[in-house]
């Protein structure tokens, strides 16, 4: 009993000790109010000042040297630092991260500062973000619009204030855009179509067979062009039976599409999807059905995709997928920052063809569209031969 009492007291002592501290705090009454506020201040300071700022991925020593060099140059000659605002739509998407990184790297090479925001898929937030960027006095705004129509008020605001507005990957329905940088999606579809004909000819001696096309969201320009480029090639070959299933980019709809088609047409020769985002569902569905056999096996179903994500490059390396059209996602920002530089220096951008020997995105073409100019970068057909090319965005960010 004595012992039990002792333990109790011991516990009580601890409690008293804790409470004693509380009392001490209580005695200095004002502390109770000051403490939380000071805590908030500290946390806010720590969070805001220590949270990582925008940084370039230094891919090689060379770029690093270049960055410091140009920074030194600019600080030496120019007093005013140029700041670019970048409003991303939805960063959980690795493609968007790549696009953003391309712009950051491109701008940093020129010695500029980049401020980034993420709209988290919310059009309203993207408009607010651009407002904030304007407040910070950015010299140009670059954005991948979350929605081509809903971005318009932000573009118009920039137009009024004379801030040049650039978009990447998607255009807008109104306002005045200096330049939209995107991929030539018709070319991407055509490249896959041509490759299909080549593969079918290799299989049967002539282009024939059954092909499933899993379409993206047909309300978007991107899906229409990726479809048209492919369909135009296929249409020249009457022996190819084309089955089209709209998926609205959803992987589960893609999976269902391929399952249903294999039920009605078990002799399917090829699958083409408008995006590897959808394709992920397709590949797993084929795997489930035991139809995911490597190239060379006579039961192999030809798999063709678009985007060029790291996943797809791995499928190609593992002989599961035949080809993909890699979008120049990383180059979007690099190329875009050059044109931002031109615009800020007052050099006019003219429609025409842009060529850069050695670059994967070359030849590109600049066209006039309703809201401004549009630069279409070439896509790259990726097969087993060139899958390890370091210029492919799927190999840039891992």
């Amino acid at each position: 009993l004595e012992g039990g009492e002792g333990i109790k007291n011991w516990k009580g002592n601890i409690r008293n000790y804790i409470m004693f501290n509380w009392k001490e705090v209580k005695e200095l009454k004002i502390k109770r109010i000051i403490f939380p506020i000071v805590l908030t201040l500290i946390v806010a300071f720590v969070l805001v000042s220590c949270a990582p700022k925008v940084q370039p991925t230094v891919t090689s020593e060379e770029t690093k040297a270049e960055v410091t060099e140009t920074t030194a140059e600019t600080t030496a000659e120019a007093k005013k630092e140029i700041t670019i605002g970048y409003a991303a739509p939805w960063l959980p998407d690795v493609g968007q991260v790549t696009i953003m990184q391309g712009l950051i790297d491109g701008a940093m090479k020129l010695g500029w500062k980049v401020i980034t925001t993420d709209a988290n898929g919310d059009v309203q937030k993207q408009i607010n973000d651009i407002d904030n960027l304007i407040t910070m006095g950015v010299d140009a705004v670059v954005s991948v619009p979350q929605d081509s129509a809903a971005i318009v008020p932000a573009i118009e605001k920039c137009n009024q204030l004379g801030i040049p507005f650039f978009t990447i990957d998607r255009g807008a329905t109104g306002g005045k855009i200096v330049l939209t940088v995107l991929a030539d999606n018709y070319l991407a579809g055509k490249q896959e179509g041509d490759n299909l004909i080549k593969l079918l000819t290799a299989k049967y001696g002539e282009p024939k067979g059954k092909v499933l096309e899993l379409q993206g969201d047909l309300a978007t320009n991107v899906a229409q062009l990726r479809g048209k480029g492919f369909d135009d090639v296929v249409a020249q070959n009457p022996n190819i039976k084309l089955i089209q299933v709209p998926t609205k980019w959803a992987p589960d709809v893609g999976a269902k599409g391929v399952e249903d088609t294999l039920t009605t047409d078990p002799d399917l020769d090829a699958v083409y999807f408008h995006s590897e985002y959808t394709g992920a569902g397709v590949v797993s569905a084929l795997d489930r059905l035991g139809k995911l056999v490597p190239i060379g096996d006579k039961n192999h179903i030809i798999i063709l995709g678009i985007d060029g994500s790291a996943d797809a490059l791995n499928w190609i390396r593992n002989d599961l997928m035949d080809s993909t059209s890699s979008q120049p996602l990383y180059d979007f920002g690099i190329v875009c920052s050059r044109y931002i530089k031109d615009t800020l220096e007052g050099v006019e951008i003219k429609p025409g063809t842009v060529e850069e020997p050695g670059a994967l995105w070359s030849p590109a073409k600049i066209q006039e569209v309703a809201v401004g100019l549009e630069l279409q970068l070439a896509t790259t057909l990726v097969t087993k031969e060139n899958v390890d090319d370091p210029g492919l965005w799927g190999n840039v960010l891992k």
């Binding site: 939380p36 806010a44 925001t117 993420d118 919310d122 081509s148 109104g174």
Partner: protein, 336 residues
């Protein structure tokens, strides 16, 4: 027994707070806000510019209206998760009536009729919510969650995922017009807020709702027609949400399928940070206002402080959590 009580009293002595301390505790969110403003103006020199402050108000005005709607529900001891999709759905209805989708010609309805219809749609949604919860007796969380999903789905049915744009400018003026440099949406928000504050704190309208939130049975016993008041509360809240939808569509000059997605979480966070209790009966709209400003301020400072886009959400969540912890510390001190 008395010994233990004495001991407890020793450990947890009753403390009496002075008027000044009570004032501090009641308005602690405002002091946090003040502290944040100080932080913001130190780390981001652009923060204290007129342009930025006006932007900040514009950005929170729509959320501010939703918070008024949510607070009304919370004070009566209910909650309404469907306000964000009511906002989206009613806006889509209006846009559909006025411009239609790209593939159909549209109805070309006059903007003012479209606005009346969208507000009516809002009111009807509130009526359905209220009826299901009050008369059929579903849990408000489940009922409004189902409504949230239903309306999101219907929005998708109408838009087919495509944005509806080219809205008439007379429709847009509420969301994007301005008077002497101040956005009309801000003025409307302040007006709505002022009216709601007045009726909730000075009129029978508010007293009845606080009574129901405090104890439904006591309110019933004292002769309040609880069912009617609750249904009316849901109607008001959905009506305000539809109104917010009008402003948001006007601000974007277009309506997208996921309009307002995720706003309900901010609306909850703002109400609760501002001291509106999730159990009902407690909290004021002034408190909720401080919550709205805090949420808006956090988003604003993080961008102005050049925080990388990847970190903004995490930082925002943490700052909200810190604000909530401070609020709960307050409650603990008060209880002692």
């Amino acid at each position: 027994v008395s010994n233990i009580e004495a001991k407890n009293n020793k450990i947890l002595p009753k403390i009496r707070l002075s008027t000044l301390q009570n004032f501090f505790l009641d308005n602690i969110t405002w002091f946090i806000l003040l502290a944040m403003v100080v932080v913001a103006s130190i780390i981001a020199p652009k923060f204290l510019t007129k342009l930025n402050l006006l932007n900040l108000l514009t950005h929170v005005s729509i959320l501010g209206i939703l918070v008024v709607a949510e607070s009304l529900c919370l004070i009566t001891g209910n909650l309404d998760l469907s306000i964000e999709s009511t906002l989206g759905f009613s806006a889509v209805i209006a846009a559909w009536l006025m411009v239609g989708r790209q593939d159909i010609s549209g109805w070309n309805v006059q903007p003012f009729i479209a606005i009346i219809v969208m507000l009516l749609v809002g009111a009807v949604i509130g009526l359905i919510n209220g009826y299901i919860i009050v008369k059929i007796g579903l849990d408000p969380f489940i009922a409004t969650l189902a409504m949230l999903i239903i309306l999101r789905g219907l929005t998708l049915v109408i838009t087919k995922g495509v944005a509806l744009y080219n809205l008439p400018s007379s429709f847009n003026v509420l969301g994007s017009g301005n008077i002497i440099g101040i956005q009309i949406s801000v003025i409307v928000w302040i007006l709505i807020f002022a009216i709601a504050y007045f009726v909730m704190s000075k009129c029978r309208f508010g007293r009845v709702r606080y009574a129901i939130g405090g104890s439904k049975w006591a309110a019933l016993a004292s002769g309040i027609r609880v069912d009617r008041v609750l249904i009316a509360t849901f109607v008001y809240s959905s009506l305000l949400a539809a109104f917010a939808g009008w402003i948001l569509a006007g601000r974007l000059h277009s309506v997208v399928a996921n309009l307002g997605e995720g706003m309900v979480f901010d609306a909850f966070a703002a109400s609760v940070i501002g001291g509106v209790s999730l159990r009902g009966g407690r909290g004021t709209l002034i408190g909720a206002l401080s919550g709205v400003l805090l949420i808006g301020l956090i988003g604003n400072i993080l961008t102005l402080a050049h925080v990388s886009a990847f970190w903004i959400d995490a930082s925002r969540g943490m700052l909200i959590m810190v604000a909530m912890i401070i609020d709960s510390l307050k409650q603990r001190i008060r209880r002692r």
